[in-house]
């Protein structure tokens, strides 16, 4: 029992080491890839796969987040006579937390699963070994373009989700609850500033990188057979989801501290 626990712990540490090394190599190779022109067509292809085709699902996710928030929050605010503040509540929740996190979770499911399945299949059919055997670094050829595409496009997709969340929340507030639109937007503009939107968008870089690295790693290390690929996809989604939540918490703490440091300066300038 103790021996098995020890062996499992050692294996987990070894796996974490492998993942750390893979992540480090991926980031370094991607940084080099930014300067190499021959990487651009590969990144462009991945941007189409990852970004363009994710726009509809991300917009739908964002819209429903805003609409649901409006329905859930209206009664509480109306009970206090603060229904015109509904826009502040919806918009700050959407742009700072729910928009980025739910968009990232949706991307982890859509893109992460596809990346892991594609690379996992390439792995079990020896296509990744074939890339290596022809003198090409698979991290450069397969991982870096996907990582760069996720890194650049996740923040953009989060902006789409935010936009649709704001529109969805506003439409429900105006059409279903009859809230005065002018008061709604004035209070929203007062309560939500550029910092809040920026924090949400910056999270996108971290979420995108996490989704790409985890999904590619799971694909590269997947076990043989259909079961192996399926299991790798599941593990990729679960790991990405946990990393998104953990990163969200860490970034919330960091952004709060940064805001508190600079807030006095802002009030002086304002």
């Amino acid at each position: 029992m103790i021996g098995a626990l020890g062996a499992k712990t050692v294996q987990d540490v070894v796996d974490a080491g492998h993942f750390g090394r893979f992540a480090w190599r991926s980031v370094l190779t991607s940084a080099r890839g930014c300067a190499a022109r021959r990487t651009y067509p590969l990144v462009w292809t991945q941007m189409n796969q990852i970004g363009v085709r994710s726009v509809p699902v991300i917009m739908i996710t964002g819209a429903f987040v805003g609409m649901t928030l409006a329905v859930q929050a209206y009664d509480q605010l109306a009970g206090m006579g603060l229904e015109e503040h509904l826009g502040v509540l919806i918009n700050i929740s959407v742009v700072k937390e729910l928009g980025p996190v739910l968009a990232a979770v949706m991307l982890a499911g859509r893109i992460g699963g596809a990346l892991t399945a594609e690379l996992g299949t390439m792995n079990v059919t020896e296509q990744i070994d074939a890339v290596r055997s022809m003198g090409t670094d698979p991290i450069r050829y397969l991982v870096a373009p996907r990582l760069l595409a996720c890194l650049f496009l996740t923040p953009v997709l989060i902006i789409y989700a935010d936009l649709m969340g704001v529109i969805g929340g506003a439409l429900v507030s105006f059409l279903q609850f009859g809230i005065n639109s002018r008061a709604y937007w004035d209070l929203s503009a007062y309560g939500v500033d550029f910092w809040d939107v920026g924090v949400g968008v910056v999270k996108g870089f971290f979420f995108g990188a996490a989704i790409a690295i985890i999904s590619c790693y799971k694909g590269f290390t997947c076990q043989e057979g259909a079961h192996g690929v399926g299991q790798a996809c599941t593990e990729a989604f679960v790991s990405s989801f946990i990393w998104i939540l953990a990163l969200d918490f860490a970034l919330a703490v960091i952004s709060k501290n940064i805001y508190e440091i600079f807030w006095p300066i802002k009030s002086l300038v304002g």
């Binding site: 390439m122 059919t125 020896e126 296509q127 070994d129 074939a130 290596r132 055997s133 022809m134 003198g135 090409t136 670094d137 991290i139 050829y141």
Partner: protein, 283 residues
């Protein structure tokens, strides 16, 4: 060398690829056990042995696709097993590797597959020239005209020939063949054997063929090495292997099941006890 006691004593040419005291373990499983051998330049070396004996792992070591647990691998007297992936990229362009299932990129056409190593390793400016190279390589394997096909539309034998065309795209000095005839009918197998001989003759390459197809081994091999339990147990030309006294070698080359295997079959149940009728599952 007489470490196995079964090495045919002949004058050997210098080794282009060498493994020294190579041991490979996966967890507690020993796959290769202190293997030392030298692949002679310009010759075809065939590695035979039963499934799971470590043949594929051994040739993957030759190009450092797998790293040894112990021992070293040398290419042209330069140690390569400890190099980084980046340093290995250059070394690997001297090799062509035909994978067991071809490992063609299924998202690319046949032409794109063959262009891949060229585009990855050289700055291509003249596309016409690349197309001519692709045409020449495909003509060499008898598949000119298949440039725009996707691998999914090809038969097993055609896929292997395209994979071979891709393997020779960079004019390698060494070609590694992993089970080149497995899964093919006898005619298609013989086409692949003829191709191996043709490439050896026309391109003067060194070939290493891993197979358990003895017909293929005898036809293409200048030298045949038999692996058993991760160790070479016989090493010589086709005649030497045919007359080798080791019972495991004789069983393998003649396709005879051993007494140990038969004993397992006899001990683990009879045909009668393995038959079931629907009523056996009814309450």
């Amino acid at each position: 060398m007489d470490d196995t006691g079964n090495r045919q004593e002949n004058a050997r040419l210098p080794g282009i690829v060498e493994v020294r005291n190579l041991t490979k373990r996966f967890g507690s499983k020993l796959v290769l056990d202190n293997v030392s051998l030298s692949i002679e330049k310009g010759k075809t070396t065939v590695i035979i042995g039963p499934s799971g004996c470590g043949k594929t792992i051994l040739i993957k070591h030759l190009i450092a696709l797998v790293r040894p647990s112990e021992g070293q691998v040398y290419f042209e007297e330069r140690r390569i097993d400890h190099l980084s992936e980046r340093e290995l990229s250059r070394v690997r362009t001297h090799f062509g590797y035909l994978f067991q299932e071809g490992a063609l990129f299924d998202s690319m056409t046949v032409a794109e597959n063959i262009m891949f190593p060229i585009r990855q390793n050289y700055r291509v400016k003249n596309w016409r020239e690349i197309e001519d190279i692709v045409k020449a390589k495909l003509a060499m394997v008898g598949l000119d005209g298949f440039q725009n096909y996707y691998p999914a539309r090809l038969s097993g034998g055609q896929r292997k020939r395209v994979a071979l065309a891709r393997a020779i795209a960079l004019n390698p000095e060494v070609i590694l063949y992993d089970e080149p005839t497995t899964g093919l009918d006898p005619i298609r197998s013989d086409i692949i054997n003829e191709l191996i001989l043709k490439l050896e003759r026309e391109l003067a390459v060194t070939s290493v063929v891993v197979t358990h197809d003895m017909r293929s081994a005898y036809k293409v091999g200048d030298r045949i090495i038999m692996l058993h339990n991760g160790k070479p147990i016989a090493d010589g030309d086709a005649d030497y292997i045919r007359s080798h006294p080791h019972p495991v070698v004789q069983q393998f080359i003649n396709g005879q099941v051993g007494d140990d295997d038969l004993a397992v079959l006899r001990m683990n149940g009879s045909a009668g006890s393995a038959q079931f009728l629907p009523r056996d599952f009814e309450q």
